[in-house]
Each structure stands twice: as structure tokens, then as C-alpha cells.
Subunit: 340 residues, 2 copies
């Protein structure tokens, strides 16, 4: 490994601008000067996360923040020990404390009868959570970029996701302290960054394998979409911006409405007097929120539509069932939500 | 051509249900008993529109409506004269008055330097408009089905369309009297319908040609998406339902806000006192509506975001330009919209 740049001023103007744009984007999304805080960066050793680790380190040196690194050896490929060695060497060079985990993803997946992708995700986020605590970090930085966002939108479209979730992964999720500062950056810029500073990275051969939906989307569907519009990424960033505004709007409206919910003896009552004032676009989101708050179980849009039709028809006495043993009963006073 | 079924009761229960489901869907979307009215059906002679013409005729016989047919010979393929003969013969058999137009799509496109697809669309809708008037029709029925809706969503995703337009073509557009009663029906059911009643149709060879974006999406991208989720169509119907609700909601909110717009000497004033009360998700839609109402010129989401930032920063005196010579000036009283 060549010696890496010590500060942003050592970079070419183009690369320095890349770093500052990434800082600006992260600040805008989190509403905080994240680079002056304690950041935990999830690093696999691939292009994206290697670039993110270096950029986060340069930004931290400028803004007075601290950087820690978390690496997971998924133990699914023979190269994974080499990935770990690479990440630990890089961290040493950058002066970044690193914590690695050798996980038995295949075993975890088999034990719970879930897919490898899902098992990996659960183990990863669980480990990140531990590391956030251990390092007392303010932010978990992940290296998802425009390409990942685009794939995610297509994945969600395929799955039948509704608005605003259709617009893809969040740039900032305060609940998980998760920030994706590269989400409006394209992969080519990250590769260009690493090449320019002479920093190597690890290739993940499993990315080219078609066993995973995600890889099939990446390798076969995305090239066709980008072929129709090379600026697809910009359009999806715009869509995500619109989704964020809409989500904030609906969250506000729903929170206001939920205040009028009454706890009664046999459940939670959403009074007709309140529901009558709202448009169905809002009513559906209120039902969804109350049902989600009742506990686990994924509520489908079509079944919420049926519930709303029940409300509109004032079918007193009729009952609607939802996953997770949730039940909504229509009565004269309104809709009664409970878990059986 | 075999003799066609004279009434819905002559069909198998499965095919009769298909017809009645289509009627139900059209009623739900238009809010009217369209099959009892005067319907103009656009027919190319392909599977979809041939099926629609026969189904509309059967529904009209049941409900007391009348059916007319409009056919356009785009004159782009040597088979097009045969298509016209087929459609006219089918109409004779069904007792449906038909009006055909032989259009010079290639000449029209060359004259205006536009693509063949766009030229075809303009000529088509212009002809339909004439026919609607000539036959004094209440509805223009077009044969777009789930497959077309799915392609349209992907097309709009590629183009960077925002919500709710992203969810695809409307099942009902009252401005154009346009109803798409097959929008929740899949193509296989339509082909099965025609085969079962022994009715032939015309194949459009140009559908397999990759010169058009639409065909590339249909022939290469859609199969990959459906391969990941064979129920993709159902998810997109649900997305469209959600989009319709959201669109109705925002239309209502924007219409309410627009009432507070003041016509002043040098343009249209949107007062701060009003804007302050609204969430940015609504403000952006209000700006868009006022700009659209000022005349032609497509306003981009990003430029509306900039305008909103100008409003939030209260940058008095600053001016924002939009396509179609539209200008918005920030002043102390609010935002001043005008066309230069």
C-alpha cells in the first residue's frame, strides 16, 4: 500500500471536492456536523467502503471527529481471511481502531431456516450495534452509493413496495444512527478516488454470482435501465428527495391524528368524529401506523383498503383481521383496534 | 371469422366473469355505468383492442349502451391495409359503426422533427377527439392492460418521473373522457378470451423490433422483472391505487391553497402568511400547480426545490427562472409568479 494522503489539502482539487460534497450531503441529511463526531464505519474492503473509510478519516482530521472501523468476515468465501487482513492493515495505516468479527453466517442461516443474505444482514447490524456501543459512536457510516440506491428501488418495485418506501434506502436513519454519506455519489467516482491515491481494494467475486436476486438485478437489469438513461441515478436521487419530503409530511399528519386516539377498556379507539375529517389517503396511513404500533406482523395495503371501505360503509360489528393476531372492529363510535 | 357470441350469457362462466370484472373495474374508476353510455373504442386489430371491442359490445348489449370504433392505419407497415380490413370486417359482424383514418405518421414526424412514436400518439389522440365529437361519445375506451401499465411504470422510472405520476397511466382521465377498463386485466386472459370464442386477431410485427424504447422495455426488461416476481402486475395495480388516493389528496390540498392566491398588478402573489402554514411537501406542489397553470413549459422538481429554499431564506429580490419564460420573484409579501 502506498502512503495515503494525510489531509484533504493533499488531494487534487477534484478529489477534495468529492470529499467535501460527501460531507455536505451527510450534513444535509443528518442535520449534524457528523465529521466532527465519533463515526463507526462498516468496511468490507471493497471499493465503496474502502473509499468511505479513507474519506471519513480525512474529514474527521479536518473537522475534529474520530473514526472507528467494524469489519465482518462472513466466512462464506475462501478470500475472506485476506479481506480481514487488508482492512486491518488499512486501519493501522490510517490510525483507526478496528473491531473484526468472524461470523458463521451459513450456520446461522441454516439454524433459523433463513437465506444467507438475510442471515448476513441480521449478523451485520447486530455487530454494528455492539460496536456503536463499545466505541460510544454517534454515527454508523455505511458505503451505499447511487448504484446501490438504484438497485434498491428496482428491488422494491419488484417486491411491490408502496410510496414513499419505494424510493429506496434512507440516507439517514436516526433510530439506527445510520448515515449513508455516499448515497448521492456514483461508484465510478469512488473507484477513481482510490486509483488516484494509489490505494488498493478487495474484489468480492460473489458479486458476479447470479444466485442472489440483488446480483441478478445488479448484473442484468440495471445495465438495461442505465442503457435507456445514463442519468437514471440523478432521477432516482430526485425521487428519493421527494419521498423524504412526503414521508416527513405524512409522519407529521399521522402523529397529529394519533393524538386523538382513545385508550378504552377493550383496545384502542379511533373515533369516527376524527376520521370523518380526514382524506382516505391519510386515513389509510393512520390505520397502518396504529396496526404497526400494536406489534409485529406486516399489514398489507389491500387489507387496509378493505378496512377503510368497512369504515366508510359504517358496517357496525364487522371485524377485520390482520397478521400478528391484530383485529379491528367497526362500531358506532369508530374503529376499535386490539391484539387477540 | 366464426360467428361471435351474441351476449354474455353465451360465454363460459369464466369468460363471462372476465367481462363483468372488466365492467366492475371501469365503473369503479369512472364512477359511472359506462357500459350503458356511448363508447368509442380505439382498435388496432391486435389481441388487446380486438378483445376490448368485443367485450365492450357484449357489455353494451347487456346495459343498453352503444359502441363505436375508431381505427388508424399508421401506414408504417405493409400489413396495415390488412389490419384495417380486419377491423372493418369485425365491426360489420358486431354491428359497430367504424371510422378509419389513413395517417401519414412518417411524414408528420419528419415535418415536425419528432419521433415516430410521438407523431403516432399525437395523430391518434387528435383522431380520437374528432371521433368522440362525431359520435357524441361519452367515453373513449383504450385497451391498455396490466402489462402496459407495468411497462409504463418502468418507462417513467427510467425517465425520472416523480410521485404519484410514477405509478403509471390513469385508468380514467375525465379531461380526455379516456377510460382503460382492461388496466387490471392481464394479456393472457385477453388472448384466452379470443381463442375461446374463436376470434382471430392481427399480429403487429413491429412490436418485436428493438428500435423503440417501449419495445426494448417490453422484450428485454419486463421478462427479467417478472422472472423475479411473477405477481409484479398485482403489486403495480396496488401502487396505482395508492397513487390515485395520493393524487386526489394533493389535488384537494393544492386547490384549497390556490384560493388564497392574489392577482396583483404585476402577476400572481402567493402570500407568505399562507405559505408559512404549509409543509414543504405541499408548498412544492402549490408552486408546481401555479407554474403549470401559467402556460406551457415543463417545470423540474429540482428547480422547484431551489425556489422553496429561496422562500425559506426569505431572499427578497431574488428571481427564479422556469421554462416557458415563467419567473418567480421572492419579495416581502410572498412569491410573485409571472410570465415575461
Amino acid at each position: 500500500m502506498n502512503s495515503l494522503p494525510a489531509k484533504i489539502q493533499d488531494l487534487t482539487p477534484k478529489l477534495a471536492k468529492l470529499c467535501l460534497d460527501i460531507e455536505k450531503f451527510g450534513k444535509l441529511k443528518s442535520g449534524e456536523d457528523f465529521a466532527s463526531k465519533t463515526m463507526l464505519v462498516g468496511v468490507s474492503g471493497g471499493i465503496d467502503s474502502t473509499a468511505l473509510l479513507i474519506i471519513a478519516t480525512l474529514l474527521a482530521r479536518k473537522s475534529g471527529g474520530r473514526v472507528f472501523c467494524a469489519h465482518i468476515d462472513h466466512n462464506l468465501r475462501k478470500e475472506s481471511a485476506g479481506d480481514r487482513a487488508f482492512v486491518e492493515e488499512l486501519c493501522t495505516e490510517l490510525g483507526v481502531p478496528v473491531k473484526s468479527l468472524k461470523a458463521d453466517v451459513a450456520g446461522y442461516a441454516a439454524e433459523r431456516s433463513i437465506g444467507l443474505e438475510e442471515a448476513g444482514r441480521i449478523i451485520r447490524y447486530d455487530f454494528f450495534k455492539q460496536c456503536l456501543k463499545k466505541f460510544d459512536a454517534d454515527f454508523l457510516l455505511l458505503a451505499h452509493h447511487i448504484g446501490d440506491l438504484s438497485e434498491d428501488v428496482v428491488m422494491r418495485l419488484i417486491r411491490g413496495t408502496g410510496w414513499p418506501a419505494l424510493a429506496g434506502m434512507d440516507a439517514y436513519d436516526p433510530k439506527r444512527k445510520l448515515l449513508r454519506p455516499l448515497l448521492s455519489t456514483d461508484k465510478d467516482s469512488l473507484e477513481d478516488f482510490l486509483r488516484s491515491i494509489g490505494c488498493p481494494w478487495r474484489e468480492d467475486e460473489s458479486n458476479t454470482c447470479d444466485d442472489y436476486t440483488r446480483n441478478r438485478i445488479r448484473n442484468h437489469i440495471m445495465p438495461l435501465l442505465y442503457n435507456e438513461n445514463p442519468n437514471l441515478g440523478a432521477g432516482l436521487i430526485r425521487l428519493k428527495n421527494q419521498a423524504e419530503l412526503d414521508e416527513a409530511f405524512w409522519d407529521e399528519q399521522v402523529a397529529e391524528a394519533i393524538k386523538h386516539v382513545q385508550e378504552v377498556e377493550d383496545g384502542i379507539l379511533l373515533p369516527c368524529s376524527i376520521l370523518n375529517k380526514y382524506h382516505s389517503a391519510l386515513r389509510l396511513r393512520i390505520y397502518k401506523k396504529i396496526l404497526d404500533d400494536l406489534g409485529p406482523g406486516h399489514t398489507l395495503f389491500d387489507s387496509i383498503i378493505l378496512l377503510d371501505q368497512g369504515f366508510l360503509a359504517r358496517k357496525s360489528g364487522s371485524t377485520f383481521q390482520f397478521p400478528g393476531k391484530k383485529v379491528v372492529k367497526v362500531n358506532k363510535a369508530g374503529l376499535l383496534f386490539k391484539v387477540n
